[in-house]
């Protein structure tokens, strides 16, 4: 296992942007799941699911707890092998690609990862370079450049020497995202990147992810709990319920009162987000408003 193949170098020559092209990324990644069945032991969580991730966009997977959204993300990241069907990246099944080669094209940030005690931000971000490193080439100029850029892009340059476990929750998540950025993959998958963060830091992290998408044309897929944030930050929303995709598309098409009631079993009203104009979900609950009048109002508006 010491023999890291040299052949898996990122292509140096042909990847240069063609003159006149607007985008720096030459080809958009094509990540899709075909008829996948996902299970833990004998418990089938997802069955017969198809999904094509829109390249160069931000996709948010939403749904109630235990609906299989994290499971689907794990399958997209080859952390879980489908029992049936397959996930393909650019036409090749994930489990037929060497994991190291895959790691140069697809990054995954699991939910609340834990850094070893005392590990500095710089060391953590450097680990993101490991798919590009061999034991004799552990700190090339390209590595240094990528790490510096990732630190700068996430605003972590000044904290590079600090241990990750001493940072605040928001800074810690930024450090992990910096690691994923340094990995330099066209596709980045994130499992609930805002968990355990206060609202300001949630917005901060989501803005950062948007930057990565817009400036570097990275394809983003993330699992999100907050529907309003999903509507605001995602170009494409995938709503899941008990292992199936109930609806997918632009936030305004997907997040309707009917879908939310179906997916979350929650009565709500939808109004335009005063800041972004995207759908905003106002839950009703049992003590405020009456379901009937709300439904009537919704109907009359439609």
């Amino acid at each position: 296992m010491s023999a890291d193949p040299m052949s898996t170098e990122p292509k140096p020559a042909g990847a240069e942007p063609v003159a006149g092209a607007h985008q720096a990324v030459a080809t958009d990644p094509d990540l899709r799941a075909h008829d996948v069945r996902l299970a833990y032991d004998n418990r089938i969580v997802v069955d017969g699911l198809d999904l094509a991730v829109p390249p160069g966009r931000i996709t948010a997977i939403v749904g109630a707890n235990a609906c299989g959204k994290s499971t689907l993300l794990r399958a997209l990241a080859r952390l879980l092998t489908p029992r049936e069907g397959a996930v393909h990246l650019d036409g090749r099944a994930l489990n037929s690609l060497p994991t190291r080669e895959l790691a140069q094209r697809l990054g995954i940030l699991p939910q609340s990862p834990v850094a070893p005690e005392g590990l500095t931000v710089a060391d953590l971000v450097n680990r993101g370079r490991s798919p590009h490193q061999t034991w004799w080439r552990q700190w090339s100029k390209a590595d240094e450049l990528a790490v510096d850029r990732a630190l700068a892009a996430t605003g972590m340059t000044d904290l590079a020497e600090r241990p990750v476990d001493e940072l605040s929750g928001g800074q810690r998540q930024r450090a992990w995202i910096a690691m994923a950025v340094a990995q330099g993959t066209p596709v980045l998958l994130l499992d609930e990147p805002t968990t355990y963060l206060d609202l300001a830091h949630q917005i901060d992290v989501l803005d950062l992810i948007t930057d990565l998408n817009r400036r570097e044309n990275r394809t983003i897929v993330m699992v999100l709990h907050d529907l309003n944030q999903a509507c605001r930050y995602a170009d494409h929303v995938v709503a899941m319920k008990s292992g199936r995709i109930v609806a997918e598309g632009a936030p305004a098409e997907v997040i309707t009162a009917e879908t939310v009631e179906d997916v979350f079993d929650l009565m709500c009203r939808i109004t335009p987000d005063p800041v972004s104009g995207t759908p905003m979900v106002i839950p009703m609950g049992r003590h405020h408003g009456t379901p009937t009048t709300a439904a009537v109002e919704e109907d009359s508006r439609a």
């Binding site: 952390l79 005690e117 680990r127 240094e144």
Partner: protein
């Protein structure tokens, strides 16, 4: 022991290197003229490793100079390289060198093995002496002594088989969709108790003389080592040390958790199996040669990690710390009660525990593991 410069004293100072960003890393680049080679150099770790190597060599020679027939330090070094008068060379090379070499090599093996297991399982408690490997080797060797298959090669082979079998049992029992670090520890502690009980039973069952021999071996002992014990251990280290140094890079991603490691392109299960085999091999050969010396595999990596100020046990420094602990303990054991030689394992336990406790207390006060 000199007090190391604590992490807080050496505040991160921006390196003056060209093109360095404001938050310049604690490490520097080593990029020789040959283009594809590039390494990270950590000044503090490099200095520590060099100091440990010098210290180990000095203790090694000091141990060789001690005995019924005292030899000067310079004469020892000369005799090591085969020059000097014939009598000194004979005493040093034939009588004292095997013992010192077993101490040195076993110490390195314990330290490196502990570092491998602790990194792989992300838990300092998961050293081979905690998860039953040492105990398994002990059971096999004691069974050999009590049931009457003793002998130089016999002990080696039995120790190796015992440790390997225990490792396989722990791995098989801990396996559930891939063995995770936490399960390995829990299962290992259970298996370790089973092995200890089996050993106790064998010692109780054995005759008085055999029980004495078994108990003497069980505390870890460097008395009366011969070249027959040095050979296999040296060979094992020559093969396994380079393997572990190469595996070290992959261990650094494994330390971030399985999911992150897979995401970074590490083939987690094969790497973990290779680390397990290398760690078991080291611990098995060392235990077979020196007995289950207490505490070195647990404490040496942790001591090295804190001295180096890294977030992981540095492999080589851990091995050298292990050698320093074993050789130093053997020296103390030999001088403490000159008439009866104390087994080295007694001293490593007594000495290692306070050092580790001191480091833990100090780290807590500083608010970090640095």
């Amino acid at each position: 022991m000199t007090v190391p410069t604590s992490a807080s004293d050496t505040a991160p100072k921006p390196s003056p290197g060209p093109g360095s960003s404001p938050g310049a890393p604690q490490f520097r680049a080593f990029r020789p003229a040959v283009p594809p080679v590039s390494w990270i150099v950590r000044p503090r770790l490099t200095a520590l490793t060099a100091a440990l190597a010098v210290g180990t060599f000095l203790l090694f020679c000091w141990g060789l100079s001690m005995g019924d027939y005292p030899i000067g330090f310079a004469d020892v070094v000369r005799a090591l390289f085969g020059s000097g008068d014939a009598g000194t060379v004979l005493v040093v090379e034939e009588l004292r060198l095997p013992r010192a070499l077993v101490g040195l090599l076993a110490g390195v093996a314990f330290g490196v093995s502990g570092a491998l297991f602790q990194t792989m399982t992300r838990n300092p408690l998961a050293s081979p002496d905690m998860i039953g490997l040492t105990q398994g080797a002990g059971t096999a060797v004691v069974a050999g002594i009590v049931l009457g298959w003793d002998g130089g090669l016999g002990t080696q082979t039995l120790g190796l088989l015992g440790a390997l079998a225990t490792a396989l049992i722990v791995y098989a029992l801990a396996w559930r969709r891939g063995a995770t670090g936490y399960r390995i520890i829990l299962v290992g502690i259970g298996v370790s108790w089973i092995c200890s009980s089996a050993t106790d039973y064998l010692v109780a069952k054995g005759g008085r003389f055999q029980a004495q021999a078994a108990l003497g071996w069980l505390v870890g002992n460097l008395n009366g080592r011969t070249w027959g014990e040095v050979g296999p251990l040296a060979l094992a280290l020559a093969v396994l040390l380079p393997v572990t140094l190469v595996l070290g890079r992959l261990l650094r991603t494994l330390q971030l958790g399985d999911d992150v490691a897979i995401g970074l392109g590490t083939r987690v299960q094969p790497v973990r199996l290779a680390v397990l085999l290398a760690g078991v091999g080291l611990i098995a050969f060392a235990t077979a040669a020196a007995g289950p010396v207490a505490f070195v595999a647990l404490a040496a990596p942790q001591i090295a990690q804190r001295l180096a100020g890294t977030a992981w046990p540095p492999t080589l420094a851990a091995g050298l710390t292990g050698a320093l602990m074993t050789l130093g303990s053997d020296l103390i054991a030999r001088t403490l009660i000159p008439s009866t030689e104390l087994p080295v394992g007694v001293v490593t336990g007594v000495l290692g525990a306070p050092v580790l406790l001191w480091l833990l207390v100090r780290a807590n006060r500083a608010g970090s593991g640095g």
